[in-house]
Symmetry: none
Subunit: 233 residues, 4 copies
DNA sequence: AATGAATGAGTGTTCATTCAT
DNA sequence: CATGAATGAACACTCATTCAT
């Protein structure tokens, strides 16, 4: 009988443990979502932990329980985006190798799709990543964080260039300097997203994302089309 | 006699006044140049008035004599850049009207040249403008300045679109949505400048601008070339 | 029958109660030992309850179950030391009365032995006590605890003086002001322990206590010897 | 005439400059005095910059204008004391070399006098230095500060030992280990000062220093006398 | 009884801005 | 007009202490 009770208790505890685990995960997600919003709207330097805590309806120390520093929180936000990007490019690479991409426009569309997918999965996170392109934001980060980011960033860029290189080798893209092309594509996407975001800002809160959609998509599609045409042999 | 003396004095005073005026103008220029450098290298949030004052070899209150707030100083940096951009587009417009631009690639080159010129005249000021495109930096500004900026920005964009429209009308560019095209071009330029700036930042201080040059120019030239090809009829 | 069962249960409960009691005592000891270590190495102010809890492999609230505040925990560490000291002097007193101490040097050695024994039994606790001698650490404590400490301290000092007084009466020590002598001896011991502790602190963690031993003992022995010589009639 | 006015102005400015210089010096002294008091009464870790600022009737940033960090402020307080001590020993050394110290008791008295002088010149500063003997206080300081202090401390101890060595060589002190003796003397003095300070604490504010005097001096004199006797050949 | 989680109240430090001279 | 000095308001981060379970 003792055994049974014990077993009952164990089960009970196990259930509780799982719930706690879930709650914990939940809270982390809440914090991340909130931080994304705040970092996005204020930039890294201007965003304050106080503000994030307030917006997350938690106290500051609670946030520090889950993220060791402001930078840690920031990184936890940005790294998944970089990794998503990496995965995206890995997918394209794979399809290229298997010969599944059969035209210039399809390749370019895939590349922009990778960017867009990243952006759509986590618009805030993406913008926060793009924010890194701003000198001040980067210099506000500590040495370690900067290096960590730079490392991953380089890897991701490397894969991007390889995709383009493969495209050239398979005759989908005419011969151009892949470094320049990769930079151009990424710069174009980020620059356009930034521009359209700020334009959509001028709308009321609730219409923003639709407006952004309305502005962003056609501009990117135009870029795809034009570049595909120019890059085809 | 009283009159004469008075007149002499008046002339004397006038001379002094002019010198003071000159000195004043001089000092404002010094402050602006310094602020540009600091804002560029540190970003708005991390740049401190102390630092700017120190670098300008002036005391903080002196700076406040000429610029009411940090924000004011910041904006005084950006507006000339927008105006320079506007002038650039006005020049292209003029040449277009006079039929002096005879090919797609020349037109595109002129557009990017206008951007580049702006950037080269005042890299810091340009980046600072680009910064405005990010996050809610804008919302940190006062209402009046925000409107002033937005106003000028719109005017400049408007002129940019008109240039493209003229290009289409003159058969230099094939028919595309000018809104999208203008956004794409600007986004591309700003995005690439940001990206290359940050890449060059990984170098040592003194090699930065050469490195940036080395990275930026070919990427922009590639963009010119590709887009010219795609946009030609 | 009812009675018997009840009795059985009672015995059972009693056994459980005793085990719990033992566990409780056990836990208190664990906490105290850990706290001593931490307070010793970090000092009162820098030691954190988090750290103590972690080191004791218990959760913070558990510690608070046994000690109402950080201060309480701190004091629970010090009082036994004072009592140990008191017991030490009581022992010397006893031996003196029984005529068992037959020379100046033996008496002095006994006194320093009492101090040393205290220190060796609980180096952390002893230092913590010495800490009380510094700055207004004391005034940071609550009124009640302060009085309690002061009371015991006085009693202990009183006994120390009585020992010296007895020494004088028995002709082991030449006639000096016992107040001054008692203060001097205690000051000497505490001062030297502090000094040597900090010197040994410059070594790596693991060699510290040996190094301390190496520094402390001969210095104290020198003091014993010199003072014995001077205090002998 | 212009010249004269100018000259007058120059003089005027010079006077103002000097006054400002004086005021600056004044303020630094105010801050140091206040900090000494606070550090003394609370210990390094528990003393807050807020409290110091409040007590000095200045705002916190004003203090930071004169002292870069809390540690800097602390060091500025402690280093002069160490240097004073060093000077004191240098003086004794000099007198020893010139053969001006002619008995054991005079030498010991000189040594304790050096300590006492230090203490009397700046009781707070001295106690704050003595505070360093408390483990926690040291560990609260940064690496650099710790090294700086350790360095100077070592030098001072070195000189102390040399003085004792000279004493032995001149036959004023019988042959003992100078390391141990130096430690013992310093430990004794500091320990006694601490003890008597805390005892005098129990008086009302205004009687404290007299009480301390009343307690400290005779205890130290007793130590002098006893040790002189024991150390004479 | 034991604990994971939460938090109010500080910490040292910085910075835009304003006086007093 | 220029400036040395001053400061209110933040900011990232910490810690003793308390809930809720």
């Amino acid at each position: 009988m003792k055994n049974k009770t014990s077993s009952k208790n164990d089960i009970h505890r196990e259930i509780i443990r799982k719930r706690k685990e879930r709650e914990r995960e939940q809270r982390i997600q809440t914090i991340l979502k909130t931080a994304e919003r705040i970092f996005f709207s204020r930039g890294y330097a201007r965003a304050t932990m106080d503000e994030i805590a307030m917006a997350a309806e938690l106290s500051k120390p609670t946030i520090y329980q889950y993220f060791k520093t402001k930078e840690d929180l920031y990184l936890s936000l940005v790294i998944p985006v970089i990794e998503e990007l990496d995965r995206g490019f890995a997918g394209i690479e794979d399809r290229l190798i298997k010969g599944r991409i059969k035209s210039t426009v399809l390749l370019l569309r895939a590349v922009f799709k990778a960017y867009s997918h990243c952006y759509e999965t986590s618009p805030g996170g993406f913008m926060v990543l793009a924010l890194l392109q701003q000198t001040d934001q980067v210099s506000a980060l500590g040495e370690r964080t900067r290096t960590a980011l730079s490392e991953r960033g380089k890897r991701s860029f490397f894969r991007g260039r390889r995709v383009l290189q493969l495209g050239i080798e398979q005759g989908l893209i005419r011969k151009v300097d892949v470094y320049r092309l990769a930079d151009m594509l990424w710069g174009l996407f980020v620059g356009v997203v930034q521009l359209e975001t700020i334009k959509s800002r001028q709308r009321k809160e609730k219409d923003r994302s639709t407006e952004l959609e309305r502005l962003l998509k056609p501009t990117i599609r135009l870029a795809e089309e034009l570049l595909a045409q120019a890059l085809a042999k």
